[in-house]
Structure formats: C-alpha cells, structure tokens
C-alpha cells in the first residue's frame, strides 16, 4: 500500500469522526496568548467557525488519530470487522495540522478521539502526547477536547486532564445490556466507574482553585458523554432517565444524543433507516427541560405515550396539554418557576418579563415586544387585557397547536 498524504489521511479520519455529536468549545476557563506570545485563546463562549450542510457547527478540528481499532462495536463504522479504509496520523502530523488550521482561523481547537490500537494504554498515551506537545512545545492556548478511553490507566487520565479543556467518555447506549450486546468489548460498569472518577477529579480541582489560584487545572471545561439513539430498543423514558442519572451522579456538562446514522458497511444487527433526527431533537428539548426548566423525567413523560415522546409537538407543550389545570398563568403575578413552564416561553423571555413587569403591568402589546412569538403562548397566559377563555379546555387545542402538515417535496432528497 502506498503511503497516504496528510490530506488523504485527513479525509479518512475526519470522515470517521463525524459521528461524534459534540463540537462544543465553550465553558472552559478564559485564556489568551497575550502573555505567552503563543497562539490561541478561549473565551467563555465558543465560536463556530463554519457550518456544514447537516446544520452542525464546525468549531473544532474533529478527527480520529487512527481508525484502526481492536474493538468491534456494532454501531461504529470503525469496528474491527468493518472494511472501511484505514489510516493513522502521527502525533506530529496532528499537532501541525491543528496549528495550521488554527492560525488561519478555521477552528477553535482540537477534538481528538481514536480507535484502540495495540492497547488502550498505548492509544491514550498518544492522545495525551498530542495535547502535551500543543500546550508545552507550541504554547497553544486554544481549546482541546480529548476522548478518553475508559480502559486506560488512571494516571494517563490525570495527564490528559492537565492538558485538555474537556474530557469525555462515551456511555454509547442507555443500558448495560445493550452495551454488552452491541459493544462486546466494552463494559458499562467500567465506563461509569471511570466517569465517576473523572467527575470527582474535575470537582476536586475546581474546589482547589477556589482556595488557591495556583492550583492546577483539571479539564476546566468539565466532561461530557454521548449516547446513540435508535441503535437499540430503548425508549425515550429510558434514555432520559439514564441522562438524568448521569447529570446527577457524575456532574456531566452535557449528554449528547446522536441519532444512529446509516453507516457505510453497517452491521446487520442494527436497524436500517434514516436516522431519527426528529426524535433526537425532541430528546435535546427534553434534556433542556431537565436541566434548565425544573422538570422531572416523569413530568416530561406525561406528555408522551408508552415511554416515547410525542414527535409532533415539543415536550413542554405536550406536558402543558396534559396539565391544563396549571394554566392559564398570570404573566404579571406568577413566579419564575410557573413562567418557565409556559410552552413557547424560554429562559430569556421569562427574564425579560420579570424585568419589564417591575415597571408596568404587562399587556399583550408589551409581550409582543419582548417575546419571540406571542401567538404560541396565548392559550396559556393571562395579562391585563387577555384571558384565553374556554380555549384551554378545548379538545381541539392539540390539533391547533401542532405544526401544520408539510407538503412533501417532489424534488426533495
């Protein structure tokens, strides 16, 4: 086999990395190169430098170090039994590529993952070496996200945390039984144990920083995980319960949901269809309700049927329609928690309402100025000059609020 050029390797190893959903470059410490004279900075907020036609942002150079892999996880394009073309970067190649891209302002940093070669420890060592060279040799101040290998030595995990802004371990599937079936070499218990260990280190380091500014950083951007949706039979209730547990027990920053894509050379044990994008979207909405709106999993699932979220309407609206007794909410008097439960009203809108009503009793005209869409929230609120009347009790409310059916395209893909 002839030697692949850097560009050819990039094509293969970027292609192999595209099934990772995460591309966040936010939430780390603020850092810049003014003192070091090197290259790179991170702000609180990430920057998306480009967008692909799949609607996902391109913030980081998201690649695998290699797509050779000893493991045979059925949902993964790089599993050992798949016959995709393989390639491997050297440590220096990744370092150079990252810097070349960064200096042209294409990216915020690097998201590096890898197939398992030789041994989990060896692979992890290589990943850490990339991060170390970037930070130490090249004084790189950009964002680094390393995918962590649960089976690797905890000492390597520690080193990784010192160089990287964020670490992640993929939980892959919602329950251990599915992991055992679809990812035979992986062990759900070990994944969770490592995740716990990681969460503890992140927490401890943060606590130490509070007492001393010189305390070493450990993955200041926290840690995250990814779950694949639609590769096994788990329902939404199961998935959300798992995420809720993950947020609670391990202090995760994010759980990413990745709709299972038909991958070239897919294993025959997996369902073949278009990825359930809408389901993924609803799960993200439900995830937000869990984290920022004070909902519990059981409340969210009230709006669904048989453990699945309603795909036609968003989970908050679905909940509201099942709990009409909580409405209408008086915009001028209600507390923040009740305002947050109004479908169609987000955190920002609620903040503005709270602020504006200190000046005046709000009317519809006021709401129109500060809310995204008043039409959506009308059935659920009262203001000085508005009451929804009987429409809240109407059986047709569901049909009226759900998005209109879409004309199928003759020429669509």
């Amino acid at each position: 086999m002839s030697k692949l050029s850097r560009s050819e390797k990039l094509a293969i190893l970027a292609d192999a990395a595209k099934y990772d959903a995460s591309c966040a470059s936010s939430g780390s410490v603020k850092r810049n190169s003014a003192k070091s004279g090197g290259i790179g900075s991170t702000g609180g907020m990430g920057i998306c430098h480009s967008y692909a036609p799949d609607g996902r942002c391109i913030s980081l150079l998201k690649i695998l170090m290699t797509n050779y892999c000893m493991f045979n996880c059925l949902y993964c394009i790089n599993r050992s039994s798949s016959n995709v073309q393989r390639a491997a970067f050297t440590v220096q190649e990744i370092v150079d590529l990252t810097l070349d891209f960064y200096k042209r302002n294409y990216i915020e940093g690097l998201f590096l993952s890898s197939g398992i070669i030789r041994s989990p420890d060896y692979t992890m060592e290589q990943l850490v070496e990339v991060a170390r060279r970037l930070r130490v040799v090249h004084r790189f101040g950009g964002y680094i996200h390393l995918k962590t290998i649960p089976e690797a030595d905890p000492e390597l995990l520690r080193q990784a945390g010192q160089c990287a802004d964020r670490l992640s371990i993929n939980i892959e599937l919602p329950d251990d039984e599915s992991i055992a079936r679809l990812a035979p070499e992986k062990d759900g218990k070990l994944i969770r144990r490592t995740m716990n260990n990681l969460g503890k280190k992140v927490r401890d380091a943060k606590a130490e920083r509070k007492t001393s500014r010189k305390a070493p950083l450990f993955a200041p951007g926290g840690h995250s995980t990814q779950m694949i949706i639609g590769a096994d039979a788990s329902d939404d209730a199961k998935i959300l319960t798992t995420s809720n547990g993950l947020y609670g027990s391990y202090g995760l920053k994010r759980v990413y949901y990745s709709a299972f894509s038909p991958i070239p050379d897919a294993s025959s044990n997996l369902p073949l269809q278009a990825p359930p994008l809408l389901r993924e979207h609803r799960l993200y909405q439900a995830d937000w309700l869990l984290r920022f709106y004070g909902f519990s999993v059981s409340e969210i699932m009230q709006g669904g049927t048989a453990g699945q979220l309603d795909l036609a309407i968003d989970p908050k609206l679905a909940w509201a329609l099942q709990n009409r007794a909580c409405f209408p909410v008086n915009i001028n008097l209600a507390d923040k928690e009740s305002l947050l439960r109004i479908p169609g009203l987000g955190g920002k809108g609620v903040g503005k309402i709270l602020q504006a009503r200190r000046f005046t009793s709000l009317r519809l005209a006021d709401l129109e100025r500060i809310c995204q869409s008043v039409k959506k929230i009308l059935p659920f609120i009262t203001t000085v000059d508005w009451h929804p009347g009987k429409q809240l009790d109407s059986l047709k409310l569901y049909d009226r609020l759900k998005p209109p059916p879409e004309q199928l395209s003759l020429f669509g893909t």
Partner: protein, 487 residues
C-alpha cells in the same frame, strides 16, 4: 433664556462613523443645556461633501456659563456600555436614538431596565446586531499565509462586516494570534498586528489580499468529510452562516455539490447495507397445523381466504417435481400459459429455461420447479392478459408457503430466478447483478443461488445483448449443476 435655544435646531457633526468620544462630548453638553432630542440632528464629517443636503441651520451650542453650575449628567454603566455597542451599528439614526434615550434616562432613572420600552427595544436590537456581527467576524475571518519574516509567520485576511466593528474586534485577534503577524483588511478600515503593537489604517479592497493558501485545500477536504450526508439541515446552516458571508469563505463553494450528492450517498449506504443482509426477518403466517406433504400444503393454500385476489387468477399453480429433488428452482409467478395449463414454466420463458437446462445437462424432470407467488397476476387488455409484477405485500403473503415447500422438498440448493424470487427467499430487495454467480448461505439453511429470470432474457431487444446475457444465465445454471453433483 432657555426658550430661545429650544426654538432653533442643532446640527452636530461627528468626526467619523466610530467617533464615540465626539458623540459623548456633544451629548453631555447638549444635556447640560437641557436641549430636547427633537432639536438635535447628527451627521458625520464629509457626508455633506458626499452629497447630503444640509437642511438644518447649524446653531452654536450654548457656551458653558462659568457662573452656572453644570447640571450633572447621570448614566448607568450598563446603559453606557449598551450605547457604546449600539453606536457601532450602521443605521444612521443610531446617534439620534442614543441621545433620546440618554435624555429620557435623566428623568426615568431605570429606563434601561425596561425591555418593553420602544426606544430601549430598538437600542437593544442595534446592540444585538453589532454583537452578532462582531461574533461572526471572530468566526469567519479567514487568514491566508503570505510568508515569514524574522521567524514570524505573516497572515492576511479580507472581511466585509455589516457594521462599524473593525476596530472593536482588534483586541480579540491580538490576544488570540499573538504569536504571528497579521493584517485584516475591510472596506472601511484595516487593522494590523506585529507581535508588539496594533495599528489601524484605511480600508482596502479584496484584491489587496492573496487569493489562495496551501492549507485551504486541506480545510476544504476536512469540510467535505466532516459533513454527514445522512442529516441535511440546510436552514440550520443558513441561519448561523448567512449566505452574505459565503463569498469570503473558502469552503462555501463546496456546499451545493455536497447537498447534491447527499441523497445518493445515503441511498447507497442504505442499499448496500440491505444487500449485505441476507439473513433476516420472519414474515410469519400464523398457522398452527404445519402441512406434512406438498399436496396437503397446496390444499391448505387453496382454502386460504385471505390471499390477495384482486387482479389474480383463481387458479393456484402448484410446484412440480420429485419430492426429493436436489435443486429447487423458484420463479416469479405463473404466466398466462402456466395459469391455463396449471404447470410452472411451460410458457415461452419455460422453453428458454429448458434449453439452458439442457445445455448444462440438468434434467428438468429431476428438478423441483415452483414460483414465489403461486397465482397469475395480470391486467386485461382486450382479449390478452398482460403479466403484472407482484408487489411486496403479495410476495410476503406467499413467502411462508415457499418456505414450507423448501422444508418439505429439502433440496441441496435453491435457485432464485429473478428479483421477485430473490426477495421472497431473502426477505430483502436484492440487486441480482451483485449476488449472481456465487452460492450464498440461504436463510432457511439451504444454499442459495440468485440469477435472472429467463423472461428477462426474452425482453432484451438486441440480439447481441441477449446472447451475452443468455451465456451468463447458462453459466449460473452450470454453477448450480456443479454444486449439486460435484465432479
């Protein structure tokens, strides 16, 4: 005293589009003189020369009277920083708006906290647009390398912001790209960094900046490959990366092509995966009494009341051949002749099959011949009954019965003739060209060979093509013959 001033309008000329200092000085003096916002108009130096009509008289501002104690001007920090941001907006009424808010804030101290106020709403909208423009400039500036000097790499970029933000973004780039020299050119201004100090210069044009860079090709490769064709969300992309920025992004011209290929790429992935899946699915006909002989099987089938009948002939064409046959041939469905005679493979296609079988020295009498669908489906045209291909539901209906035939005959090899038979025996839409010519593991345990249906050969228009295809067909049958009696 004051009324005299109020009757005249004041025209203030600022030094440049981003003369925030000038605006602040003038605004302070106007406020101290108590001049209402509708008495003031704002313009930028050089606009009159550029053709703007100077309609209002330019009145002198009242001189600060040393005996009078100047009225203190109050403004909250939050409002001031909001105004400073909003003043970078490109809309010309921004100075006016900002002064009006400042004026009103003197009597309504919490004004800026009220998001429902119409003026504040507009100011917030301006500030938001500016912040977004700054954010997008942080994101979409693309540097191109022009060389190295004294060990420092040098980069240049061309960018077209919507608002007057070029100077405002400079600190970000200084802190991020400290270790290299760079120059960002916009139509209005340019900013440059040499590792030590920032300099601001006049604007330029796109031609001032080189049009390529070696690494750009790799970036385009990355962009094309990180895109997942199974998910296409064009609107999400366009809302975050509006098309107005596309002209200066090296990756954007790939987009149409990527979208065009997305459908086919996903289709190829799915169909390949389906093809790979020969083991699969039960379409179980719930049936408690499993037949013990072929006759019993066909009798049972004839008595089924739920069989698809629309467009189908009433007659059931049974399979023929010895019960212990080595090879079982499964065709599509009986044709006109087969239906009339009640025998499979007796029409024109059957005759062609006979010829091919003879050529590979297979005895038709030793084979078990049957069809995937047991009745003739047709449309009537005058006196003729034209063959119609059975649909998936119909194939699935008869699948259980074919499986029973296989179980009872228990052949050493099953040969699927054509797509319908292949679908019946694999449970999937299968590409024949991909699988013909090899013995596959069938799902019931019997080895399976997939080839074309002989009627396909009859439909090839040109003689030469027919001969080629016929030869391939014979080759497949030869394979079947060799497999069942090796040596």
């Amino acid at each position: 005293m004051m009324t005299a001033y109020l009757q005249s309008a004041y025209r203030i000329t600022l030094a440049s589009e981003v003369d925030l200092e000038g605006w602040r000085d003038h605004a302070r003096r106007l406020l101290q003189a108590g001049i209402a916002p509708d008495q003031v108009s704002w313009t930028i130096a050089g606009r009159c020369e550029a053709g703007e009509l100077d309609l209002s008289p330019k009145a002198a501002l009242p001189e600060q009277n040393s005996e009078q104690i100047a009225r203190p001007v109050r403004i909250s920090k939050t409002l001031l920083s909001l105004i400073n941001t909003a003043l970078l907006h490109s809309n010309e009424d921004r100075f006016d708006l900002a002064y009006r808010i400042l004026y009103r804030a003197q009597s309504v101290p919490g004004l800026h906290l009220n998001p429902a106020d119409a003026d504040m709403l507009k100011l917030n909208r301006y500030a938001k647009a500016v912040r977004r423009d700054i954010h997008k400039m942080h994101a979409f500036v693309r540097f191109r390398k022009i060389g190295e000097s004294e060990g420092r790499e040098q980069f240049v970029s061309w960018f077209e912001p919507d608002h007057h933000i070029t100077e405002a973004v400079a600190p970000f780039f200084c802190k991020r790209f400290t270790g290299m020299d760079w120059l960002i050119v916009t139509p209005e201004a340019s900013i440059a960094w040499d590792g030590d100090k920032l300099s601001v210069g006049p604007g330029g044009s796109k031609d001032d900046v080189p049009q390529d860079d070696v690494v750009e090709a790799e970036w385009r490769t990355y962009y094309a490959n990180i895109f997942n064709p199974a998910r296409v969300k064009i609107n999400a992309m366009k809302s975050e990366m509006p098309m107005k920025y596309w002209k200066n992004l090296p990756e954007s011209d790939l987009i149409p092509q990527l979208l065009e290929q997305a459908g086919t790429r996903v289709g190829a992935m799915v169909s390949q995966a389906q093809d790979d899946l020969l083991v699969n699915h039960q379409h179980g006909v719930a049936n408690a009494n499993i037949p013990e002989s072929l006759d019993q099987l066909y009798d049972m089938l004839e008595q089924q009341t739920d069989a698809p009948m629309e467009k189908f002939s009433d007659r059931l064409v049974r399979g023929t051949g010895p019960i212990n046959a080595d090879i079982m041939l499964v065709g599509e469905q009986p044709g006109d002749q087969e239906d009339l005679q009640g025998m499979p493979f007796v029409g024109p296609a059957g005759q062609l099959l006979d010829r091919a079988l003879e050529q590979v020295q297979l005895d038709r009498q030793a084979l078990f011949l049957t069809n995937a669908v047991k009745r003739f489906k047709f449309t009537r045209r005058g006196k003729r009954r034209l063959h119609e291909t059975p649909n998936v539901g119909e194939i699935n209906y008869y699948r259980w019965w074919v499986e029973q035939e296989i179980r009872l005959v228990n052949p050493g090899l099953v040969v699927a003739l054509g797509a319908t038979a292949a679908r019946c025996l694999t449970g999937k839409a299968v590409k024949i060209s991909r699988y013909r010519g090899e013995i596959l593991p069938g799902k019931a345990g019997q080895p399976l060979l997939i080839t074309v249906h002989p009627s396909y050969l009859l439909r090839i228009p040109d003689e030469q093509g027919r001969q080629v295809e016929y030869a391939k067909f014979v080759r497949d049958l030869q394979l079947a013959a060799d497999f069942s009696s090796p040596g």
